[in-house]
């Protein structure tokens, strides 16, 4: 893992310059200025936008405010997707800053999950970590950890503490010396062109002949259209073009 430390840091500290603008039909007592913020790629919208919320609520009346939600060019933004994923999926070809519209009414029930509190974000994040460990280690590593370790993982993310986070996460990224890798690789492939939200399948890190699988192997097996020469879209992982990283999954 040590030679990957630079990549880990690049992913963790990735930021997206964003401009938040209040939806024009929201009722305000005076004009709302846009709010600029650098968003962490690895975090979640509802976790990092307290200041955005406060900024716009200052010019609104309490009765005109209900649950906040975000939208980009008409598409409601799923807060439960990592910010970097949302950007790469929807806005990577547009000029920076990323322009997001802020809403305080007409919550789109059919499109978005509710986020009643930070507990909802924590529950979602931990649920993803647990599912990943079910694939990697049959849940053995995550279940052997104490509650305080789970808490440290969450707090590391919430407070943007790379070392605090990785002190625990490194245990989730290890595998026994006799194995060649995890049991299955946890992955999800998102595309805007398909109806289903993502592709997720069981995929082993090692082929039958003992060769390590590459990202190319994975894509060829589960999403061959992504490699079609005619379209040739470049797969992205948190904004980093993956050709360079394709040697080893």
């Amino acid at each position: 893992m040590t030679d990957d430390k630079d990549v880990l840091r690049d992913v963790w500290f990735g930021r997206i310059p964003t401009c938040f603008t209040l939806y024009q039909d929201e009722i305000t007592e005076r004009e709302a200025e846009p709010y600029y913020l650098l968003l962490p790629r690895v975090s979640y919208l509802t976790l990092v936008t307290d200041k955005v919320k406060k900024h716009f609520q200052k010019v609104m009346r309490q009765e005109d405010i209900s649950e906040i939600w975000f939208e980009y060019e008409g598409t409601p933004l799923k807060w439960h997707y990592p910010i970097g994923l949302l950007f790469d999926l929807l806005a990577s070809s547009s000029a920076l800053p990323w322009n997001i519209t802020v809403h305080f009414k007409s919550f789109p029930e059919k499109d978005l999950l509710h986020c009643p509190s930070k507990d909802a974000v924590e529950a979602h994040f931990m649920s993803c970590v647990k599912e990943a460990d079910a694939l990697k280690h049959k849940s053995q590593v995550i279940n052997e950890m104490q509650k305080k370790d789970h808490k440290q993982l969450w707090m590391g993310l919430q407070n943007d503490r790379f070392d605090q986070f990785w002190a625990i996460n490194r245990k989730l990224m290890e595998y026994p010396a006799e194995e060649n890798g995890f049991r299955y690789i946890p992955f999800r492939i998102y595309q805007t062109t398909t109806e289903r939200p993502f592709i997720q399948k069981l995929f082993r890190p090692v082929a039958a002949d003992g060769q390590l699988h590459t990202l190319g192997d994975l894509l060829r097996e589960v999403c061959p259209s992504a490699l079609a020469p005619e379209d040739n879209p470049t797969p992205k992982r948190q904004g980093l073009d993956v050709q360079a990283c394709a040697q080893k999954v």
Binding site: H114, A120, A123, S127, R196, Q200, L202
Partner: protein, 181 residues
């Protein structure tokens, strides 16, 4: 491993605070045990609400059974709305959980029932978490082998988890399962 996936779906109407309203018609598909690997999208039943009083609200429940390849167990997804389309909130769902499961729910509500994105439809659904499924299904399977009786895993699982979220299976399900022996 290429498994075309789908889900089993069931609609159900209930008057709030009262027991199940009778349904007109049952799809033949619901009574057979279907391998989860088949792509299936069952036709929704036509349900008739036979009784409703002005002071009670009718709630429409939609249940989907999907298979989680991460946990290798079936997972129950569901959503609920009033007839005018207003969806129920997570708080309403938690409050609606049967009394005998309330204690367990309150110990860790976020670990038990939460709102999640349906992996095929991409829409918000409530989910009964699968983490503990193996814990309670193992004794059922062990016991069935002991008494040398075929057990339809899905029927047994659904009869165990369904009532937690208000889904009650009619006895005809058990009858249909044993017909396959």
């Amino acid at each position: 491993m290429d498994s075309s996936d789908g889900y089993m779906c069931k609609m159900h109407f209930q008057i709030k605070n009262e027991t199940v309203v009778s349904r007109a018609g049952t799809s033949a598909h619901e009574q057979t045990c279907l391998p989860m690997e088949e792509a299936l999208e069952l036709p929704l039943d036509d349900f008739e609400v036979t009784e409703s009083t002005a002071t009670n609200e009718v709630i429409k429940y939609e249940y989907h059974v999907l298979y989680s390849c991460s946990y290798q167990v079936p997972v129950l997804y569901f959503r609920a709305s009033f007839l005018d389309g207003r969806p129920l909130a997570l708080k309403d769902i938690w409050e609606g959980v049967h009394e005998c499961y309330k204690t367990r729910l309150l110990q860790g509500p976020w670990d038990t029932i939460s709102q999640q994105e349906h992996p095929i439809l991409g829409q918000p659904f409530f989910v009964l978490h699968p983490c503990k499924t193996n814990e309670f299904m193992t004794p059922v399977l062990k016991n069935s082998r002991k008494i040398n009786r075929n057990v339809n895993y899905i029927t047994s699982w659904l009869s165990l988890v369904g009532p937690v979220v208000g889904l009650h299976l009619p006895l005809s399900y058990a009858g249909a399962a044993s017909q396959d022996e």
